[in-house]
């Protein structure tokens, strides 16, 4: 067993109350982040990965609310609550106040890098001014000291001629350079954990490569931990140490990166890998996952992936699998939420196979039913 994790999340649930019902965007996820590692959260859009990462800092806006779970960071409880029987939540004692989270945790201890660097920077202030203000606010530096620190940070993230570019405005920077500025801002207070929400998605591949290199280098130098939210399995393979695969608000598989790709435990992960065109070899036939992810407002019973799963059996529709350890590598567990594994003793082998999408039924039939449900909501 490793030493204590830097961040531990247990049974986190975040919900959005809408006109049409409660959207269970994040529905009971648990994971840990240890010091100095990069943990990936990967999934398709709508899987809840962004909401999950924002929940860690209690940055969920109305109508969203964290309803249950426990988030512990360096022994301090960022959030802990239980769902009471009448659906309300009850905060537990010893939870940091919203004010403390804002002042002491956000920025100082846990920083965030967003996908769109243009939206995170104010277009009417200079890059340097914004960085300096951020440093002045969060560290005991003022005036010229803060300015010097800001220029050093810009240099640190590889912005050439930092002194001259300090006085330039965000629109004078390219997308890659702006993302570097955001990384500089995130690093400015030397946090122990950085949450990166799709930070390279908007960038070109060659620029993405540069940013990944930079993150690798900075991570080695400062030992910062990262939570890397992405939809790109390629990026996951490049940069992550351990990975959480999310599907419809749940973590369906959790494994060290090599395990995930080579000892894939969950059919969803496998299907995702099989449906990707590869840059490194010519694939003649892609095997797409049939259908689309259902809405989190009305998830399927049992295993949430069963309507699209090629291995689904009757039991998958009836029983809901919780992630269970199927292997252990270098002290880290490999968890998967699929009954195919022996650790679940629910009679998967005896259960009759399900006649679902993945097995013959035409794609069109499914699309029709999907539209019917989607259309029903919209009319």
């Amino acid at each position: 067993m490793r030493d204590k994790p830097l961040l531990r999340v247990e049974n986190l649930k975040t919900q959005f109350v809408t006109e049409n019902g409660t959207v269970r965007a994040v529905d009971g996820i648990s994971f840990e982040v240890y010091e100095g590692e990069i943990v990936g959260i990967v999934g398709e859009s709508g899987a809840g990965k962004s909401v999950a990462s924002m929940s860690l800092l209690r940055l969920v806006d109305n109508p969203g609310e964290i309803v249950a779970g426990e988030i512990t960071y360096k022994g301090r409880t960022i959030f802990a609550a239980e769902e009471t029987e009448d659906g309300d939540r009850r905060l537990q004692d010893g939870v940091l106040s919203a004010e403390t989270v804002r002042q002491e945790i956000r920025g100082n201890e846990i920083a965030v890098i967003f996908q769109d660097p243009m939206e995170s920077l104010n277009p009417v202030f200079t890059i340097g001014g914004q960085l300096r203000e951020f440093i002045e606010l969060n560290r005991d530096l003022t005036g010229d000291e803060a300015r010097k620190e800001a220029i050093d940070m810009l240099r640190e993230v590889g912005i050439p001629d930092a002194e001259a570019r300090y006085d330039e405005y965000p629109h004078q920077f390219s997308g890659g350079m702006r993302q570097r500025v955001l990384i500089a801002m995130a690093l400015a207070c030397q946090p122990s954990l950085i949450i990166a929400d799709e930070p390279t998605t908007a960038l070109d591949v060659t620029v993405e490569g540069q940013i990944l290199d930079l993150v690798d280098e900075l991570q080695r130098k400062y030992g910062t931990s990262f939570i890397w939210v992405t939809h790109d399995m390629g990026v996951v393979a490049e940069i992550c140490d351990r990975v959480n695969v999310m599907y419809l608000g749940e973590i369906v598989e959790q494994a060290p990166v090599d395990e995930l790709f080579y000892e894939t435990g969950h059919p969803y992960t496998k299907a995702l890998l099989d449906s990707m065109p590869r840059p490194d070899r010519t694939v003649t036939d892609l095997d797409p996952i049939r259908g689309v992810m259902p809405e989190a407002i009305d998830p399927p019973p049992g295993c949430r992936f069963h309507p699209r799963c090629p291995d689904a059996r009757e039991v998958c529709r009836q029983v809901h699998p919780e992630p269970a350890e199927i292997d252990r590598v270098d002290g880290f567990s490999h968890r998967s939420a699929c009954f195919k594994r022996d650790v679940f003793d629910v009679g998967y082998d005896e259960s009759p196979p399900l006649d679902n999408l993945a097995r013959g039924e035409s794609e069109r039939g499914q699309e029709a039913s999907e539209v019917a449900s989607g259309g029903g909501a919209s009319e």
């Binding site: 859009s45 620029v207 790709f261 065109p277 840059p279 694939v283 689309v292």
Partner: protein, 455 residues
Amino acid sequence: MSSDSAQSGDSARTDAHGRPGGDTEAETMVRVDGLKKYFRSSSGLFEGLSFDPSTFPPIHVDREPVKAVDDVSFDIRDGETLGLVGESGCGKSTLGRTILRLLTPTEGNIYYKGSDLAELSGSDLREMRSDIQMIFQDPQSSLDPRMRVGDIIEEPMWAHGMLDAEGREARAKMLLEKVGLDPHHYNRFPHAFSGGQRQRINLARALSVDPDFIVCDEPVSALDVSIQAQVLNTMEELQEEFGLTYLFIAHDLSVIRYISDRVAVMYLGNIVELATKEELFENPSHPYTRALLDSIPVPDPRDSDARGVLEGEVPSPTNPPSGCRFRTRCPKLIAPEAYDLTDREWTDVRAFMRAVDRRTIDAAPAAELREAFFEQGVPGGDAGAIVEEAIELVATDDSAASQRSASARAKWDEAASLLVGSFADQSICARERPAYEVEPEFGDGRHFSACHLHR
């Protein structure tokens, strides 16, 4: 011309009309020849007008165009999928739209089945549009939210006076089924559909007028991976069934590798390499293609490719570098012949030149600079003298003045232009525009590469 596709340099121009034999396995459907598309940088009453009190007259009109597509030539063969790949801003979308004549070319010809689209206008152009269609990137904005799916699909037929109302409806329903949607969705509005389904509606609209050629502008890049695969497969099925030819524009090399027969790589308005898929991915001959391929994150943790191999930023398309446009970032920039430098020496000089030019280093004493860049010692001869002069200019040994002062900046600029002027600008890469044929290793298609390494 189908053989020397993408030959765009001056050397290619000479044989642009001579059609070398032996490579006529397919008819040419589209032939693009010397196509240029420049944009005026601004519009408006006082477009390009600027005021500079230091000159006479103080007001002058400055109309430097953005060279989005600059002298591009290639062929698209009947029934194939030509992948067009490049980073954002390289001009690939502009090229696609110019071929479709949504934009008017600045110069050059676009032959479609023999007739020159660049010459057409007005109603002739509109008529031709039933043969060439387009699929757009953004599933959100490509369908009019206030129109029903049926009307959206029928619009092109209506514009061309195809069939009567009943016939159009029947065809729209047939197409809905072909693209994998339920014909009963005919009366729905676009917002009832998911991104993947909207792209299918897009496909149905494009197919409604029975085109032969479809320009696909990043049709799957807004979709999730699993949906991406579904749509790609449908596109392949439709290509087979309707005998379509695709120009498939994308930035994602994986998608390009899956769907294309041949691939063209674009950089800053030029095509730098064009070859069959297997050849291009397994035997890339242009340093830019290689850099692109190295940069893609491979979904395999055991693959430890280099990444972030490219330094610097894409130059402005308003004033692109002479000769080879990639030369300012090329890791293989060829040494100028004037100096007798060994490979090792040239590598050092090149690194130093770029560091000074991009200001990626801080001013330091001469000795430190020498040590950082020239471990083996500064080369001798003329080259060495120039390097020494530049080191003198940027070094901080004698001047106690602050590095932020104007004079330090001026000296730095002087050093940068001295180095670039003496080395980079003297290279063959700067003096001549490259265009070469490479012997293919995979398959027997032609392999075009715009790199002087193959001279």
